[in-house]
């Protein structure tokens, strides 16, 4: 069956349908990772986005039970050159087509994904819709133009009530803005006693859990759409060591008085080089963000830039001058992507240890 992608600029890509028959619209973005489609699909940061994978052959090793980054993928569509019908892998349980059907996600294959990628590169991310061939194209284009981007994705993907993932180590409150499982996995690996809380949990509620550290997760959309989190961060900053990832990083920066801005087409992929400014060390990182902390707005804050992107000099990490708090724009939990920055979680744990030490002797 044919299906089309209609973009707000009027471009149309006709290909073959796979996955769910539901028609969905969203912001069309691209990811350049060559592996990890299951992780990408289930990363809540893609909530309400239609993801184009630039690698042409997708689904080769199928879908397995282990590699989900959330239970219910919230992506609004998947576009590939070819979705493999007969995957083969010892962990394989179903095809990508089957998963998309089950999860109500439309897919489009057989289009020139490189052409689409270059279009996004040139024009920036655009709104688009995956729909059947019999729709009124002009009306869809009009609708796309007139419908603003969603602003409530965090609410949509964050948990509704707190839960505990118990451990015998440090108590970490993990604020879920659309958390990838990888973050929880890294904390669990370090024996942390994690309490995952919804995005709108207040500072008081968090402090009442008496945490040793606070972890701000990744999540979808514009950080400015989550003002309650900014308020919460201001309430805990300086009291409890804090580590932010991706959206968590942007929220931390906003809370400290910096500003964020939307990027033309963002960073999405598994090959982004990031330099640690102090040491000059370069790590290849996994990234997925459409917003960035504005460098110019840091001057008046208590933040110092710790990491930057080698390719475009955008800010990839900051830390607080006074308080035990730092954040990175990229994904040290990888999944998918390189694990070069995994030790940032150890740094977080060390920071907590150091912080506790100070308390004892203070």
């Amino acid at each position: 069956m044919k299906r089309q992608l209609i973009l707000e600029d009027g471009s149309i890509f006709v290909g073959k349908a796979f996955g769910s028959e539901i028609e969905k619209s969203g912001e069309v973005v691209f990811n350049t990772g060559m592996t990890g489609y299951q992780e990408i699909l289930s990363d809540p940061s893609y909530c309400a986005q239609i993801v184009t994978l630039t690698y042409p052959l997708i689904g080769n090793y199928g879908i397995n039970r282990d590699d989900f980054e959330s239970i219910n993928p919230s992506v609004h569509g998947l576009i590939v050159k070819e979705a493999t019908k007969a995957p083969n892998y010892w962990r394989n349980e179903m095809t990508i087509d089957e998963l998309l059907r089950i999860k109500g996600i439309p897919g489009l294959e057989g289009i020139d994904t490189r052409k689409l990628t270059k279009l996004i590169r040139a024009n920036g991310t655009m709104k688009g819709k995956l729909c059947s061939m019999d729709v009124d194209t002009n009306k869809i284009i009009e609708d796309l133009r007139n419908t603003p981007l969603k602003r409530n994705q965090v609410e949509q993907v964050s948990i509704k009530a707190p839960y505990a993932s118990p451990g015998r180590g440090y108590r970490i409150v993990l604020v879920d803005f659309g958390m990838k499982h990888g973050i929880l996995r890294e904390l669990t690996k370090r024996k942390c006693d994690v309490v995952v809380v919804p995005y709108h949990t207040s500072a008081e509620e968090i402090l009442r859990l008496n945490p040793d550290g606070i972890m701000l997760s990744n999540g979808p959309g514009d950080p400015k759409d989550v003002p309650e989190a900014i308020q919460m961060i201001n309430g805990v900053l300086g009291k409890i060591p804090l580590f932010g990832i991706c959206l968590g990083h942007q929220l931390f920066a906003l809370a400290c008085g910096a500003d964020t801005e939307k990027m033309k087409f963002g960073h999405r992929g598994s090959n982004h080089p990031v330099m640690e400014i102090n040491t000059g060390k370069v790590a290849i990182t996994s990234q997925n963000h459409g917003y960035t902390v504005s460098a110019a707005t840091l001057a008046h804050t208590e933040l110092v830039v710790t990491h930057k992107a080698i390719n475009d000099d955008t800010i990839e990490g900051v830390k607080h001058k006074q308080h035990a708090a730092f954040s990175v724009q990229y994904h040290p939990e990888a999944s998918p992507g390189p694990e070069d920055s995994n030790e940032l979680f150890d740094d977080f744990i060390s920071m907590i240890t150091a912080n506790k030490g100070e308390k004892t002797y203070a």
């Binding site: 270059k118 598994s270 982004h272 080089p273 000059g280 694990e339």
Partner: protein, 1069 residues
């Protein structure tokens, strides 16, 4: 870190001659490295013995030495040049070994030369089996378990611990003799017992078998700041068990999940960091298809064949950056040369699939063992890029130029099911085609998986392709299916075959339906950043990214994969042609498909199309680019073969006209031309049937030289001495018919001469004449060529010059031509004329300083030689002597007879240069890998017809103190001369027999000439193979042996006793 300023002068070591396992990829790597170092302002001194390379061009380094890559000669260069540093990691295993030798001999420390890149310690750790295992243990990384056993009990103990199957490798036997894979006690007993017998030290390595695991490679780079990245990973379609150089490989990996990918990536980075490599490194891993279990198979602490492939597959120039890292630069401060905007410390993202297929020499060596295993056998490889696996694979298949345009070898339909299964279980070079045949016969992918262990993902793809074939056949003319077939990489010619149409009809149909390919850019970043790289591949999609520019363009066709008969020399000429086109103010466009070469470096041409060299693929590029014309002279037979059909489709072929080329290549027309020009050639005729052949041969008289028309490298060419041999040849070696005639010439056993010339149709310039050491009958590519000629009279030389000029004018040559002459009894005959670039162009260009390919290109583009400063005649001869010595890869090709003859067998060449012929020969022979001791023993086993000539050699060897060994007949003759000789028994007789003498190293040289009859069972064949396998130099031509003698005679002093006093006979009373 900025680059180092404490060093100024760097010595770079090249990789020497092309042999199997070490080919053109090191010309690409070395050229990039030299250029990169020069770019950074260093003074670069290069040493390499291979004259056929771009890297040994005078412009690539500040000083270029074409000298043997041995301790002796490189030490001399170090003493003379006093470099501050040495870069050896871009010269393959040869470079590393030499660096090791220089260090061990104390040369590096004596002259204070620093080794750049990777430390010797790291090299040892990666290459020494024990040190490597020790390191892996330290890193806690798994290698397949193994043990050294000295008897059967020890083997049992090992197997008890780790279980079957195991691989048994006898120690110190060549090519894995006596080893094998063992599944049970019975096999263990058999193979270990025989293995222990074969091993001179009575040792076997017993190793856990991981055959059937996925084989995955990572190309990794690291700089001095410990930043490390993965450039590319690759997955072998053939699982562990076949050498990666002999495997079909795809990039990136297709069947690895992100967890697998990252797990192995972490390992690769850990290893390169542990070895502290500064530059590139290749890591081969095996991954269990049913778990996360993996093993590290091998680490190459240097740039390799795989890194050339990875560079072309991603656009990321590994060698160039490795050279810069070696002088202190870091990845994060170097720009990514592809985008020009981003930096080198990133990991390329591909949005296409790359397939590499090896090119094997079995079309030449029909008797060779084609079974693939742990010893690499391919001479070259092709690469193809597509947006689907199918497209990528089929483009690679037709790039092989093996007369296939699809996964179909017609004769395959005749093999039995049993043979089919056997050939899938034990892979040979055609396994992928056998699998396609099995699928056509309805075998299931489950069966094929069971036989081959190839991943179901790939088998499913192959199955889909076979199904599409069937659907196409059932739906003749379906446009929708035609489109799908093109997207899956099917050729017009194959679709035409399915639809019973002409290829042109399919092409026309497609054009009318708008089914045309577009060209996508290889940009390292999957389209994320804008790039300027002019590096394209075709695919059937929507957006075309390659726009024709306003500049007039010229298209050059490359020479495809490296194979015997068509080596790196043609890439050399191609690159020079591209440069000349650019100099002349045109846009230079190249089409080629060999990932190893300099010509497919995107920075060489204005536009690179990485495409198969078929009429269809080339026409697509021509339709888009509308070049002024196409140059086919430099791409060997590959390009020449396309010329007719391209011309028929209205394409302008630049340079010598097709009908003139035909006059040189079509036997009958050639004969007419020769008659008209009044130039003598050996009597000969064309035959189109067996009867005709017999008639022709009896008219002109035996011996005759027979060969099919239109061949390169003397394929299927033979000298036959009588009618029965001729009949045998006609039945077995060729398929004769009016379309494929056979040429029969009188075989003249004289001195062979080779001449290359450049002509604009009027002016004919001859840069040099070369004389062959071996008499006619041995392929020119396998002969030692000497410049300038040493034994020609001025009169003969003048005849050669006159005839060359006459021929060039008579054939209206515009560009290059190569002529082979034979001189018999002071008469000059023309053997053949090749109206194109030849194998000797780089050699002659380098030694005479005449940029032949450059001049030829400019002439082709319309300039006259006069305008370029050349006039008709012969270039002034140099005072020095230069020899070109062929290099063979026989040790790697079992069952191949090493006898030299009209069919070319060498894979590469080296140059020797010095003041006298003997000195030049010495260098050439040493550079080719020959060990030349000044005393020892020579074993003679020569045919009766050669005895007289052989005796002369015996005398001379004896005179310089060599001991003579010979078989009975020969020994008797020698003894009669009063020369001491040890008789050696024939094969099979008691000790000391021939094989013992050779195996035990009792002879330094073996001189064996061919008795008639070519079946390998003959003793001569065994003698020759035994010599190769034991590393003993074996001469099959008395001429080559005589050349060695000349060298030895100048190296040694003769031992002749003083003359006796003249005494009258005293009569005692």
């Amino acid at each position: 870190m900025p680059k180092r300023t404490d060093i100024q002068k760097i010595l770079v070591i090249g990789s020497g001659p092309i042999v199997i396992g070490q080919a053109a990829e090191f010309d690409y790597a070395g050229t990039q490295a030299c250029q990169a170092l020069k770019e950074e302002g260093y003074e670069v001194i290069l040493v390499n013995s291979n004259p056929a390379t771009i890297m040994t061009d005078a412009t690539i380094a500040d000083e270029v030495y074409i000298e043997p890559l041995t301790l002796e000669f490189v030490s001399k260069i170090i003493r003379k040049e006093r470099p501050d540093a040495l870069l050896a990691t871009l010269g393959g295993q040869t470079g590393l070994n030499l660096a090791m030798e220089l260090s061990e001999a104390g040369v590096l420390s004596e002259y204070d030369v620093e080794l750049l890149g990777t430390s010797l310690n790291a090299i040892q750790q990666a290459e020494d089996r024990d040190l490597f295992r020790e390191l892996m243990r330290k890193l806690n990384e798994p290698v397949p378990e193994s043990d050294i056993v000295h008897n059967l009990d020890e083997a049992y103990t090992f197997v008890k611990r780790i279980g079957y199957p195991v691989i048994v490798r006898p120690a110190y036997t060549l090519g894995g003799t006596g080893g094998g894979i063992v599944h049970n006690d019975e096999e263990l007993e058999e193979i270990v017992s025989s293995g222990l017998k074969y091993s001179p030290v009575t040792q076997c390595l017993v190793e856990k078998s991981i055959a059937g695991f996925k084989e995955v490679e990572y190309e990794v780079m690291r700089d001095g700041q410990d930043q490390a990245i993965v450039v590319c990973n690759m997955e072998n379609i053939d699982p562990v068990g076949i050498h990666t150089g002999d495997s079909i490989v795809v990039a990136p990996s297709q069947t690895l999940s992100d967890r697998d990918y990252q797990m192995l990536r972490n390992v690769a980075l850990k290893v390169i960091r542990a070895l502290q490599i500064e530059g590139g490194c290749n890591i081969q891993l095996a991954l269990d298809p049913y778990s996360f279990q993996y093993y590290i198979i091998e680490v190459n602490p240097r740039v390799s064949r795989s890194s050339a492939l990875a560079s072309k597959a991603t656009g990321y120039p590994i060698a160039k950056l490795a050279a810069k890292i070696a002088v202190g630069l870091s990845l994060s401060e170097m720009k990514n040369p592809v985008t020009g905007k981003t930096y080198s410390s990133f990991e390329p993202a591909l949005d296409y699939v790359v397939t590499k297929i090896p090119r094997w020499p079995f079309d030449k060596f029909e008797s060779a063992n084609r079974r693939l295993g742990t010893q690499m056998k391919a001479t070259g490889e092709v690469m193809a890029i597509g947006r689907t696996i199918e497209e990528s694979l089929l483009k690679a298949v037709r790039s092989l130029e093996s007369n296939v345009d699809h996964l179909l070898i017609p004769s395959m339909s005749e093999i039995s099911d049993d043979e089919m299964e056997e050939r899938i279980r034990h892979a040979d070079d055609e396994r992928i085609f056998v699998i396609a045949e099995a699928l056509r016969r309805g075998k299931t992918i489950q069966e094929i998986h069971e036989w081959s262990a190839i991943d179901y993902y790939f088998l499913t793809k192959l199955e889909g392709m076979i199904k599409l074939e069937q659907t196409l056949t059932e739906n003749n003319g379906s446009i929708e299916l035609l489109r799908e077939a093109k997207e899956k990489g099917f050729t017009d010619s194959f679709i035409a075959q399915l639809w019973n149409e002409e290829e042109r009809a399919i092409y026309t149909l497609r054009m009318s339906e708008g089914i045309v390919p577009v060209y996508k850019m290889v940009d390292t970043c999957a389209g994320e950043f804008e790039s300027e790289t002019p590096y394209y591949y075709s695919t059937f999609e929507e957006e075309n990214e390659s726009a024709k520019t306003s500049k007039e363009s010229v298209l050059v066709l490359g020479s495809g994969p490296i194979r015997i008969g068509q080596g790196i020399e043609f890439d050399y000429a191609t690159v020079h042609s591209v440069w000349a086109i650019r100099e002349a103010g045109y846009e230079a466009i190249i089409i080629n498909n060999n990932p190893e070469t300099v010509s497919t470096d995107f920075s060489i041409s204005d536009k690179l199309y990485f495409e198969p060299l078929t009429v269809e693929d080339v026409m697509h590029v021509i339709e888009l680019e509308k070049p002024t014309g196409v140059i086919v002279q430099f791409g060997g037979q590959t390009a020449i073969n396309l010329a007719d059909e391209l011309s028929a489709r209205g394409v302008k072929i630049l340079g010598t006209k097709l009908e003139d080329m035909d006059k040189a290549e079509d036997r009958d027309k050639f004969e007419v031309t020769m008659k008209t020009l009044d130039i003598p050639q050996p009597e000969g005729k064309t035959a189109t049937s067996v009867e005709e052949a017999v008639a022709v041969a009896s008219t002109i008289g035996y011996p005759v030289l027979v060969r099919p028309s239109y061949v390169l490298g003397g394929r299927a060419m033979e000298i036959v001495y009588k009618e029965s041999e001729l009949l045998h040849y006609m039945e077995n070696a060729v398929k004769v018919n009016p379309q494929h005639p056979v040429l029969i010439d009188r075989y003249l056993m004289g001195k062979e001469i080779e001449v290359d010339a450049i002509s604009d149709g009027e002016t004919v310039y001859i840069p040099g004449i070369m004389e062959h050491i071996e008499r006619a009958g041995i392929h020119s590519g396998d002969s030692i060529a000497v410049y300038p000629p040493q034994s020609l009279s001025e009169e003969i030389k003048q005849t050669l010059i006159d005839q060359t000029i006459k021929l060039a004018r008579g054939l209206n040559i515009v560009g290059l031509l190569n002529i082979q002459f034979v001189i018999q009894q002071n008469n000059v005959y023309v053997l053949e004329v090749n109206p194109r670039s030849s194998r000797t162009v780089p050699f002659l260009s380098k030694i005479t300083g005449v940029p032949m390919a450059n001049l030829a290109t400019k002439v082709i583009l319309g300039q006259t030689l006069a305008q370029l400063g050349y006039e008709t005649g012969y270039g002034e001869e140099r005072d020095e002597v230069f020899v070109k010595v062929p290099v063979f890869s026989f040790a790697k090709l079992r069952r191949v007879d090493i006898t030299l003859g009209p069919e070319m067998k060498s894979t590469g060449e080296v140059m020797g240069r010095d003041a006298t012929l003997e000195k030049a020969l010495y260098k050439g022979l040493v550079a080719s890998g020959m060990n030349i001791p000044t005393h020892g023993s020579v074993l003679f086993t020569i045919a009766d017809k050669d005895k007289e000539e052989g005796v002369d050699l015996v005398k001379r060897f004896h005179a310089i103190g060599y001991h003579i060994l010979a078989t009975e007949g020969t020994a008797d003759v020698i003894r009669e001369l009063g020369i001491p000789v040890t008789t050696v028994n024939k094969i099979g007789a008691e000790k000391p027999n021939l094989l013992h003498v050779i195996r035990e190293g009792q002879a330094q040289f073996v001189i064996n000439t061919l008795t008639r009859g070519k079946q390998p069972a003959r003793d001569g064949f065994r003698i020759r193979r035994e010599s190769v396998e034991n590393g003993v130099v074996c001469f099959t031509s008395l001429d080559t042996a005589r050349a060695l003698l000349r060298v030895l005679e100048t190296m040694t002093f003769s031992s002749v006793s003083m003359p006796k006093f003249h005494q009258k006979e005293v009569i005692h009373s």
